[in-house]
């Protein structure tokens, strides 16, 4: 089962690699009338599609990582605790709507900004997760690679969302600022169990938030194509 999912992930990675590459190309081109823009211009629809695919892939990989981690490190009785980690997630304080009704009622702008906030808030914790997993004794390479891959792609997703915001909302370039400590404050947990549980919580929360990002972006796309039916 997992081998199949791993294979699927691999296929996904291969298929979407060029697309990811495109997304990762710096798209902050200034549209000055006299200058020859050296960066490739991309239409808004295509960019949105690529961002959505990016988000879908990130979610898929994160889900696989979480399952893998759960299988290896979390005993069965404790697995249900992931469902309770809702209010321990780092992003719970973010003012992000969580019901479909609410989501359908918020504006495009807010959708995009929510996505951006989510993405930006997860970049650092993923780095921490990576370092934490590296300290494990028996962490499989696959898990490590996946988490590493996810953290990398998240950065490119952030870039894409930034450009999308600029294109769709005609806003200025948002400063990508990672300096603020923000939501995540981690302290080194010497105890094994707690670090394991915390990593597990991190993975679960990230998986959830990745799903959230994907849903937001898809709703946004639906609104772009067919405004009246996507209420």
């Amino acid at each position: 089962m997992h081998s199949v999912s791993v294979m699927q992930w691999g296929v996904w990675a291969v298929l979407l690699w060029p697309k990811l590459l495109t997304v990762s190309i710096p798209l902050d081109c200034r549209e000055e009338p006299g200058s020859l823009s050296r960066c490739p211009s991309i239409s808004q629809e295509k960019l949105l599609d690529r961002v959505i695919q990016h988000a879908e892939l990130i979610y898929r990989v994160s889900e696989e990582s979480c399952s893998l981690y759960e299988e290896m490190f979390i005993p069965l009785p404790l697995q249900f605790q992931r469902n309770q980690a809702g209010y321990t997630c780092i992003t719970k304080t973010l003012p992000i709507p969580s019901s479909r009704n609410e989501i359908q009622q918020i504006s495009d702008k807010w959708l995009l900004h929510s996505v951006l906030i989510l993405v930006q808030s997860w970049i650092e914790p993923l780095v921490y997760l990576q370092t934490s997993l590296d300290r494990y004794d028996a962490a499989p390479d696959m898990l490590l690679n996946k988490t590493k891959w996810v953290s990398e792609k998240l950065i490119s997703l952030e870039q894409g969302v930034v450009v999308l915001i600029k294109k769709m909302l005609d806003e200025g370039l948002l400063t990508i600022n990672h300096s603020e400590q923000g939501l995540f404050q981690y302290d080194v947990q010497p105890e094994v169990l707690e670090s394991v549980m915390r990593d597990y919580t991190l993975l679960s929360c990230f998986k959830k938030d990745a799903h959230k990002m994907e849903a937001f972006l898809k709703l946004l796309k639906c609104r772009q194509t067919d405004k009246y039916n996507c209420s």
Partner: protein, 638 residues
């Protein structure tokens, strides 16, 4: 690292040992029904919570063994949404008591937020399980797809297998269009009376191909779906049944192929038979025979290697007297055979088709209907050239019909003169008197006889008068007919004229022969002959006959005046040549008399015996045969 691993192992062991303590019946909801093995009394618990569209969900509970709480309303469901630390327990927004179900609508459903459920009885006894908490997206089980149907893609050539394309619609409750849910489908099928389902790979498209179904079997197909990257499947759809019966055309094509095969085999056999039976003709057409030398009357076997001597013998007239007059048809079965006509009288030029007669004839100022030689093409069309080589001319020669002669003459368009000459000859044939009949004969036979003469004539003697004696082997021209002498002369003149051009070519050939050159003469021997012909020309001289040809003064030089310088034509002097035998091919000049004539041989001066058969190749006895060389010439005293 090692400390971490060992401590984690210990932790795990600890946890596993506490597993039994932790697991309660209440966690059956989360763990799944298979873990319910505990015999402890079942307290009221939440059975299941399911969401179909990720926007609403339902929860069901059971009173367990507490039957007193089974009445509706005895248990109440409370939930808490743990999206903030200050959240509270709330009661179910919508009860469906008949089902012991609680329905949460859009407004009360939040995604990505933890929900926890608990049951409370009337007297505030709370039955709560920590494990009954979930995220809504994790409990989504989509409805089964709808509108499942199939189409036949193709049938294998053997008719045993076929492929089917199955397609369906996504469940209407799942908001796929919005992208709210990303669904993937799984098709399962099985044959009619089997129990194991075959599952195809999950994929998000709304159609899929099933390969390798067997005709005649009935298949059952159903489908289910789940959210991508999630674990919980929805229910299976209703089954559809696929069956493809045997295609009847399959059977009809089988005998058709048989018929085709047999037909082709039969045709092949027929063609082979035709080829075998008509093999010779086919061989003729495909491989036409290479023309090989085929000489009429000669056995083709003789043409093979090693039998050249026999061939020469035959060709030279030996054996049976040369080639038989009848055509030994060795090539009877080859009607297309073209024969090479052999001029037997000229062994040197046996196979040449000499249009213009032999040089000897030209030498002796004769022209002949060379049509004798020309038997081109059709072997049986033209009469065989008469071989007169062994017979005297006094015999009745095989006169060709005048018609045949004219025919033959007319066959040669390039030589009208010869034709005329021949005609003249022919005409003149009946003209002369009886006394000149021999002449006529000889004349008419002359052309014939001259056919038989050699290609080259050898002068055997030169008469003081200037005549040249030719060696035996040729028939001498019998012009000793006084009556027709001048006519002959004229005729000869004409002949000369006619054949002059062609004979000029022969001059070179004749030059090495002994010529009588008498500038005075300039005339032809014909004239001398004409003059000298007094005695009736008798038959050709048998045995050795020497003729002398005297160059005559210009007595009778009619049209030949133009040819003063040339008197290459040496004609036998008939009167002196009463002996019309054959002369040797070559002779030696013995002396030159005071009249500048070369004496080749002492003239035997004998009357020619009439009608003696000739021996064609009788050589002169005691006659040194050879050419006169210039130094020898010096010995000859003028």
């Amino acid at each position: 690292m090692a400390v971490l691993s060992s401590s984690s192992n210990l932790l795990l062991l600890l946890l596993m040992s506490s597993l039994d303590w932790l697991s309660t019946p209440g966690s059956a909801f989360f763990m799944g029904r298979h873990h319910m093995t505990s015999p402890a009394p079942l307290e009221p618990h939440i059975t299941e919570c399911i969401s179909r569209d990720q926007a609403t969900f339902r929860c069901w509970w059971s009173p367990g063994n507490f039957h007193n709480l089974s009445s509706p309303g005895a248990l109440r469901l409370f939930y808490i949404r743990k999206d903030s630390p200050t959240s509270e327990w709330k009661e179910c927004p919508e009860y469906v008591h008949s089902n012991r179900e609680c329905f949460f609508d859009d407004l009360h459903t939040s995604i990505w937020v933890t929900y926890c459920m608990q049951l409370r009885s009337q007297n505030n006894i709370t039955y709560y399980n920590e494990e009954d908490c979930f995220y809504v997206e994790n409990i989504v089980r989509p409805d089964p797809p709808v509108s499942l149907n199939w189409t036949l893609l193709n049938i294998s050539r053997s008719g045993l297998n076929y492929d089917v394309m199955v397609n369906w619609e996504p469940p209407p409750s799942a908001d796929v269009r919005l992208g709210w849910m990303r669904i993937e489908y799984e098709i399962q099928y099985r044959a009619r009376n089997t129990t194991k389902w075959e599952a195809l790979e999950m994929q998000p498209q709304t159609q899929q191909t099933i390969f390798g179904l067997h005709t005649g079997k009935e298949y059952e197909v159903h489908i289910r779906c789940r959210m991508q990257a999630f674990t919980k499947f929805g229910k299976f759809s209703d089954s559809i049944f696929i069956q493809v019966t045997d295609v009847p055309s399959k059977e009809s094509t089988f005998p058709l192929t048989l018929v085709l095969v047999f037909g082709i085999v039969g045709i092949l056999i027929l063609v082979m038979l035709i080829v075998v039976s008509q093999r010779p003709r086919l061989m003729m057409i495909l491989l036409p025979p290479v023309p090989a030398p085929k000489i009429k009357g000669i056995d083709p076997e003789m043409l093979k290697k090693g039998k050249l001597d026999e061939l020469n013998f035959i060709l030279s007239g030996g054996g049976m007297g040369g080639l038989p007059t009848y055509a030994t048809d060795f090539y009877q079965d080859e009607p297309w055979v073209e024969f090479i006509e052999v001029d037997v009288e000229d062994p040197d030029t046996g196979e040449k088709e000499d249009n213009q007669g032999s040089d000897t004839q030209r030498l002796l100022d004769l022209s002949q209907p060379v049509s004798h030689h020309m038997n081109i093409g059709f072997s049986n069309a033209v009469s065989f050239p008469d071989d007169d080589s062994g017979r005297a001319s006094c015999y009745d020669p095989d006169l060709p019909d005048q018609d045949a002669l004219t025919l033959m003459a007319s066959l040669l368009p390039g030589q009208p003169e010869d034709g005329e000459a021949s005609l003249d000859i022919v005409k003149r044939a009946p003209a002369p008197e009886r006394g000149e009949r021999p002449l006529v004969n000889t004349q008419t036979g002359g052309p014939q006889t001259w056919v038989n003469t050699d290609f080259y004539a050898q002068v055997s003697n030169v008469m003081p008068t200037g005549g040249v004696v030719l060696s035996p082997g040729q028939q001498l021209r019998i012009q000793e007919g006084t009556s027709g002498a001048e006519d002959e002369t004229q005729k000869k003149g004409k002949e000369h004229k006619g054949s002059e051009d062609s004979e000029e070519d022969k001059e070179k050939e004749l030059q090495f022969q002994l010529l009588v050159v008498d500038p005075e003469g300039g005339s032809y021997a014909a004239e001398s002959n004409g003059r000298q012909v007094g005695a009736p020309p008798s038959s050709p001289i048998p045995g050795e006959g020497y003729q002398t040809i005297h160059p005559q003064p210009a007595e009778t030089k009619p049209a030949a005046a133009a040819e003063d310088n040339q008197s290459p034509y040496i004609l036998p002097d008939s009167p002196q040549s009463q002996f019309f035998g054959r002369v040797a091919d070559y002779t030696v000049v013995q002396e030159v008399d005071n009249q500048h004539s070369l004496l080749l041989n002492p003239p035997p001066r004998q009357s020619p015996p009439p009608c003696l058969p000739q021996h064609p190749l009788k050589a002169l006895p005691a006659m040194p045969v050879g050419y006169i060389t210039p130094d020898l010439l010096g010995n000859l005293s003028p």
